[in-house]
Symmetry: C2
Subunit: 140 residues, 2 copies
């Protein structure tokens, strides 16, 4: 996309979300940033789902354009770039947590940690708060 004139199929909120991060890969990148403390290009490439490098580059750029993530030079190594979630990206956490809870319920082989699901059922708000706090700490 060269200009800012992205045309949405509609302004239905579900559609807006869909068009922003609803492809096969974007949410996996956000997951890696949000729950797996990944920060570097090379780390995203290592995820189980085996994203290919051209798609990763494309999605990182789209997510940055959409304002969900931001990119910076790593202070300790100028050849590395540091990716992180913006507030807009962090605000997806409640949605992702509901998604995880749903998948944990319906996927018999779900890899969702049991402690996570247990805490979700007991204290959803506390879980979200804890995760956000941890994210801010690790990015310092």
């Amino acid at each position: 996309m060269n200009d800012k004139s992205k045309k949405y199929r509609s302004h239905c909120p579900i559609n807006f979300a869909q068009e922003t991060f609803g492809d096969k890969w974007s949410l996996l990148i956000i997951r890696d940033l949000m729950f797996k403390d990944k920060k570097y290009y090379g780390e995203f490439l290592l995820s189980d789902e085996k994203i290919s490098t051209n798609i990763l580059a494309d999605r990182l750029e789209k997510l940055e354009t959409a304002g969900l993530i931001s990119k910076a030079i790593d202070a300790e190594n100028n050849s590395k770039k540091l990716y992180s979630l913006t507030q807009k990206g962090l605000d997806l956490m409640p949605m992702l947590i509901e998604m995880i809870a749903w998948a944990a319920k319906y996927d018999k082989e779900s890899a969702a940690p049991k402690a996570f699901i247990k805490q979700f059922k007991k204290d959803r708000e506390g879980l979200i708060h804890e995760l956000l706090t941890r994210l801010k700490d690790t990015s310092k």
Copy 2:
């Protein structure tokens, strides 16, 4: 897919969700069933995003195979088929509500009803309960 051997890229819950309904159209169909009281093939075709008929047929089949929706003959008209959400599909409501809230926050032109967002902020659980109750009533 001919057999049951669907191979997931991983059993990460985010990925499971993604592979179940993470294409460009599935969530819009679920939205129509969940919030817009649509039930018939022809009604889905009329949505603002203009899904094409071959894609709609394909997604309805996939969603049924995935157990998110079910299909029945309309009692009042044998040429019509009645689509509805299963429990597995209904269980996506919390996630969709979070998605709507996120999109309403970040899309300046969001079509999300203000009353909806207001109630979400004030009483999320009550909103979900109300919506589920209404769905069960209208399907009677």
